[in-house]
Structures are given as structure tokens and as C-alpha cells.
Assembly symmetry: C2
Homo-oligomer: 436 residues x 2
């Protein structure tokens, strides 16, 4: 049972971080104070806003709320709820642990930290008897954490597939529609404010991997951390990839995929994938996010909404503050994992996918047979194979192959052999395919 | 505060009704007992299943669970949770009130009853200190109640639009794709099990209106009952309507629409509407449901999933049982309305829509001018007007008109005048348009 906030004293809320999201959370708490207090069932007050740089302008935030001593704010002001919107591993982790140690509940949007240290932090929250809420950490404003935690708790979810990073989704769209190279599309995304100056967590897939870890943990009632999520970013995508995708009626998306097999093994991965252009996932555009669930009893469920942005993300934080506040005044907490299991997480080698291969071979008799032999040796079952009608200036022809479901380990072994073969010249490109 | 279930005694669950949904709920409670008990945090037992007809076979349900005395089951077996899956107004209402009077929490899928008596029942639940949960009452397996109640509680939702009745959605699709008349499509839906023998609640829009009332109540933090929802069913739709829709790039859907205006007035309605074929709502097919939310801060959110069927609906019931069970063992309840207001509900006359009109006029000079005069007299601003190039055998030509946003009251007055005018002959058809 949580620590009950005494009497009818206002709930005390401390904000850590006042950036894109934090500023909007503060603004909503100020502007909608009366309505939110009615929803919580008690008045609240903001006891302070911890920032790194006290000199930076914070429009609408009373100057006497600001402090650059976050730990001191937590320890001295005895908040009921600490709202952590600093992001990243440190000092966020230490501050959250300080909050728990001081009996405060925590609301956070910090996917990186939870993806890395979620299990430990939730354990500490539980032993401290306080809440740790994080709706904003996954897919921004889309309400996905509560549905997974509560509505679907009686359900066996078998697959979670999502577009969960708006920055890369925007970059990929620019590459697809304008034929831009990655670097140019990234530069444009920064210019337009769709990407931060340091976009490495986005383009490397790290951000998506952390969200995938949280989705898999919630959906499958186990713990998966970011390090267990196989990850490929979008930096290696080329305009040729997008052209080739079009030839088979597909678009490219950076997908987050998590599966639970019938025998109870989890897989989790983030990588670019070809998606049939007529699949709903292919239509998720710009900064929007989408999450598709496949479940044993409820069938297919899908959720769409804005995946980022200060204001949409702030609404998810506010929803958590209200729930945690209501819990607090009743002296209860909501457990994050209601049925903990320690399911094995498969390595990527054990995952089966469809694959699309594109490579050049010498334009000579018998080459197709030799390619076929390599495929056969590695259990690669080919669904369709296409050979360009004309050789290029160097006497090579382009081959493309679409496979049936194939184990990643077999595909990697096949690629290794193909790349060392004398008849495969130039680029050898593999992209996974989802939704066939 | 709710009544706390004493000690570590198993939670006692009574099921009322063992039809399509009830049977699946019982089956899931039996098959997944261990897992669900872990999720609740305590063992549970089924203390009885009340049915109307004891002689009907109930595969998998132990015969000694069955009783035809529902009230007796509630009073004598002292259940912690009563799961009401009988549906309809009576005896469901009396049984739910009996459950409250006996200190039991209630989980129900009964949209008709809640749409009619929701405010009163929630008030009784609250004064009895017990939970009343109803995720399955709206959009089957789609988790929409919790997101509205909790995740989006800090949000100002301004519009809720949905396809919330799978039966009519299936019938409409048959009419659209096969050119079938309503009666034939309804007969086929019954044959294929998509419609019940008595499909009047579906085709009249009553089922959708009840769900709309619940969605508007939850989304706008007020109370709207089914009687306040303007309602037109699908029985008047003709093959010609579908043909005409296609000519302007639209499909027809039975839409549930609820809006909250800037000055705090609610509108709620269910009627067939033209929807642009490239809008995501137009792609919701068969027994699937979809709900779109427009919100001030979180922007556009959408939810898709199976809207009916015993198994998907049962999973929503199970999710509620788990949450209510967890509440029960902690002695707490979740309030359904966290911020009660009594917002005015507008009559349909005050609602603005785009309209599509289709009617025949005498093929004579000056007719268009006279039609234009009628439109002008009623403040109907026309976006496009089309006149068929040829008159039919009786010397009439077909006119179609698409309007800008127009008040329903003005449109109705315009239609009244047009229908009594000497130059309008034959059918005069109006369909509302959404999503332009």
C-alpha cells in the first residue's frame, strides 16, 4: 500500500526538467488547475521546477518555482509526486531513486531509463510502496500503457508491431517521396524541427528499441530490456532501397516488432522493413505513431496518434499525474507488472522473417543455378526471383529475391557465403519484409 | 471506499447470463484461472451461473454451477463481483441494483441499460461503495473506456467519431459492394451469423446510440443518455444512395458522432453518413469497429479492433474482472466520472453538417434559379451542384448538391419547402457528409 497523503492538504508536485515536454506539463497544470484538481479529488500545488540552466527563459513559469538543485527539491519539499522529464540515464535515475527513497511517487516519460533499468526501478517503487507511471514513455499521446496493463490483462498477446519513432518516420518519408539520401533528409528534418540536433538515439533505433522493450514487457508480462532488443537503424538506407521497395509494392518503415511464441519465447527487434503499401501500417505518416496488437482472443487491435511533440506528450503525463494523485489520496498504488514471468528472449538468429535481397551477379550462364545452390544450402526458400533483362556497363545483372519465412541465422549464413562468392559483385543488400 | 474482501478468501464471482459472451467469459475464467488469479493477486471461484433456460446445453460449464434464480444467486452466494451479461433493461437493471444492495461490484457489457440508466446506476454504485465497470459495453474488445477515463483525463476532447456497430457495418458493406437492397443484405447477415434474429436494435441505430451516449459521457465528463442521441438507422438506405455516394468518391457508414463545442455544448448523433473513400474511417470493414478522437492537446487519436463476437467481447469483460478484483482486495473503487458536469445537449437542429442532396426536378428553364432561391432562403450555402445532362422518360433531370456547413434546422426547413414545391418531383434524398 502506498503512503497516504495526509488529511486534505494539497498534493505536492515537483517537476524535474522544463524542456519541450516539461514546459507544457507545467503550463497545463497551471491553466487547468481547477479541472485537474476536481479529477484528482484534491487540490495540488507545484512545489518547484528543477532546471539545469536558471537563466533560460521559461515563459509562464513563476521565477520562484525554479531551482537548479533537483535533489534538494525532492528532499526538502517532500513532494507527493515527482514528475521526471529530464530524460536519459543520469541524473534521471539517481533523482527517481531519491524520490522513491523519500516516499514520492514518480511519473516519467523516460523510455531510455526504463528500457535500461525498468525492472530494477519498478522493484524499488514497489518496495517503497509508491507508484511509477510512464504512459508518455511509449508512443507519446497514444494511450497504450493502460490498455496493455489493464484492459488486455486477461488476454494473450502474441505480436506487437509499431511505428514508434516519429523522427525516423519523417526522414524515411522524405527519402521515399523525394528520393533524398539519408544525410540530406536528416539535415532537413533538423531544419524543420522534426529531429533534434543530436538525432543519434532516433536514427540508430535506440529510442525505438527502448519503447519496444517496454511494449514487450507490458504485453507479454515479463521483463525485456533495451539491450535484448535487436536493433538496426535507418542510417544505411539508400534511395535505391526505396526504389526497389516500390517495385514490389512496398514502402519502408522503421518497425518495432515483438512476438511471443506458442512455447513462451519472446523476440524483440527494431529494424527497417518493407511493408506492403496497402497495409494500414504503411499509411502512418510524419510524426504519427501506430501500434498494432495481435491477440489470441481479442484479435487485431490498432492504436494511432501523435507519437511526439511537447503538447501531446504532456497530456499523457497529465493523465498519469491524475491517476497517481487519485491513488495517493486513497493510499494505494498500481502495480506495473501484475504477473511476472521470466520468459526467455530469443536472439535475432532464431527469428523468422521474409527477406528481400538485391545484388549483382556476373551475366554468365549457370549463375542462377549457383545462386540457387547457395540458397538451398542455407534452407532459404525463395518465393520469387527476378533477374533484370539487361546487364549493366560492367557486365553485371541485378537479381532480386523475395523469400518465404526463413530463419535469420540461415539468412546471415547465406549472405556471408554470397558475399564471398566470386559471382556476386558489388552491393549485396538485404531488407526484412513484414506484413506479407 | 469499497468493501474490502476479507482475509485471503477467494474472490467470489457470480455470472448472470451464459449466452454468446457469457459462455466465453466462463470458459476463459476456467481455462486461465491460475494466470488470472496471479493478475488479480488472489484466487477466485465462480459461485454460480444464472441462466434463463436450465435445459440448454452449456458446454464446459459444470452443471451444478447453473441456476435459474439470478436474484437468489446474488443474495445467497454473497459474490464479490457480479458479471451481468444478460443484456437489455430488465431483469438486468433490477439484478444490478440487487448486486449493489448486497455490496457486490458489477462488471457489465450492457450498453442499452447504461445508455438509459447509467447516471443513476453509477450513483448507486458510488453510494454503495462498489465498482461498476463496462469496458465491453462500447466497441467490444477495443480498449476505449480506460483511455477515456484515465489516460486522457487531462485532455479536452472535442470530437468522438466512430463506427461502433459491426452488424450494420457488415450490412452496409454488402449493399455497397453487391448492390443489394437493405432487406436482402439483412437476410444474408442473419444467415451468416452477423446479425441476430431480432436485429432491430442494430439496424435502427439504437445500439449505436447507447454506445454514443456512453462515449460522450466519458469523453466530455458529463452525462448523456441514449434518449439525447439523435438517431437514424440504416433501414432507409437504398442501392441508389450507394451509387450516388460513389459518384462523389464517398462510401456510406453508420457513424456515431459526438462533439463538444467551444462554449461547452454537447451534441450526439447516430446516422448514416457519406465518408470520403480515402479516409481511414471508410476502411473499417465487416464486424470491426473504430473510434476516432479529436482532442485539444493530444491531437488525433484512433482505435481499431473487433467490435463484437463472444470471444473478443469476453476479453474486455475479463480485463474488467481483473481490475475490479484488484480494487476489491485493496478495498478501493474506481470512480467512473471524475469530473461531473451537467453540460447542455444540443438538439439536432443546432448541429452543423455538410449535406448531400439528390432529387429530381422538371427539365424546364429557370428551375435551377428557383432551387437556388429556396437554398438561399434557408441559408444553405452550396459547395457544388450537378445536373444530369439528360432528362429521364418522364421529363425530369436529376440534381445533386453538396453543401458547405449548414445548420440541420435550416436544412430541414429547406427540405420541407423543396418537398412541397411543384418543380421537385419524385424522391428527395438527403444524406449527411462527414470528413470533408
Amino acid at each position: 500500500m502506498g503512503e497516504q497523503s495526509g488529511g486534505n492538504k494539497p498534493l505536492r508536485i515537483a517537476l524535474l526538467g522544463c524542456g519541450t515536454v516539461g514546459l507544457q506539463v507545467a503550463r497545463l497544470l497551471i491553466e487547468r488547475a481547477a479541472e485537474l484538481a476536481a479529477q484528482i479529488g484534491r487540490d495540488f500545488e507545484i512545489v518547484g521546477v528543477a532546471v539545469r540552466d536558471l537563466t533560460k527563459p521559461r515563459p509562464g513559469i513563476p521565477a520562484d518555482w525554479l531551482t537548479d538543485d533537483a535533489a534538494g527539491l525532492i528532499i526538502r519539499s517532500q513532494p507527493d509526486i515527482v514528475v521526471e522529464l529530464i530524460g536519459g540515464l543520469e541524473p534521471a535515475e539517481t533523482l527517481i531513486r531519491t524520490a522513491f527513497a523519500n516516499g514520492a511517487a514518480v511519473v516519467t516519460a523516460n523510455k531510455m531509463l526504463l528500457g535500461d533499468q525498468g525492472q530494477e526501478l519498478f522493484a524499488q517503487a514497489q518496495s517503497a510502496g509508491v507508484d511509477l507511471f510512464f504512459e508518455a514513455a511509449v508512443a507519446g499521446a497514444i494511450p497504450i500503457v493502460r490498455p496493455l496493463r489493464e484492459s488486455l490483462v486477461g488476454e494473450r498477446i502474441t505480436e506487437i508491431v509499431g511505428v514508434v519513432n516519429g523522427t525516423t518516420n519523417f526522414i524515411i518519408e522524405q527519402m521515399a517521396t523525394k528520393g533524398m539520401a539519408f544525410d540530406a533528409a536528416l539535415a532537413q528534418a533538423k531544419q524543420l524541427g522534426y529531429a533534434e540536433e543530436d538525432a543519434s538515439a532516433d536514427v540508430s533505433g535506440r529510442d525505438a528499441a527502448a519503447k519496444t522493450a517496454l511494449l514487450a514487457s507490458l504485453g507479454f508480462h515479463t521483463w525485456v530490456n533495451s539491450g535484448q532488443v535487436y536493433r538496426e537503424g535507418i542510417t544505411a538506407l539508400t534511395p535505391e532501397d526505396f526504389q526497389a521497395a516500390r517495385t514490389i509494392g512496398c514502402v519502408i518503415k522503421l518497425l518495432a516488432v515483438a512476438t511471443l511464441s506458442a512455447d513462451g519465447a519472446v523476440s524483440a527487434r527494431v529494424h527497417p522493413a518493407l511493408v506492403p503499401a496497402d497495409h494500414t501500417l504503411a499509411t502512418v505518416s510524419g510524426a504519427y505513431n501506430a501500434i498494432f496488437l495481435e491477440s489470441e482472443h481479442a484479435g487485431k487491435l490498432a492504436f494511432f496518434g501523435p507519437g511526439a511533440g511537447g503538447v501531446p506528450t504532456a497530456t499523457a503525463v497529465i493523465g498519469d499525474i491524475v491517476t497517481v494523485g487519485r491513488n495517493r489520496i486513497r493510499g494505494v498504488t498500481t502495480r506495473v507488472q501484475v504477473s511476472e514471468r521470466a520468459l526467455p528472449v530469443q536472439g535475432m538468429g532464431q527469428v523468422a522473417s521474409h527477406y528481400f535481397l538485391r545484388f549483382q551477379v556476373a551475366d554468365a550462364p549457370g549463375i542462377l543455378a549457383r545462386v540457387g545452390e547457395v540458397f538451398a544450402r542455407h534452407n532459404i526458400s525463395v518465393r520469387s526471383l527476378n533477374q533484370a533483362s539487361d546487364a549493366d556497363a560492367t557486365g553485371r545483372v541485378q537479381l532480386t529475391a523475395l523469400t518465404h519465412l526463413v530463419l535469420e541465422a540461415d539468412m546471415q549464413a547465406c549472405l556471408a557465403e554470397l558475399s564471398h562468392n566470386d559471382f556476386v559483385n558489388g552491393e549485396l543488400r538485404m531488407l526484412r519484409v513484414w506484413g506479407l
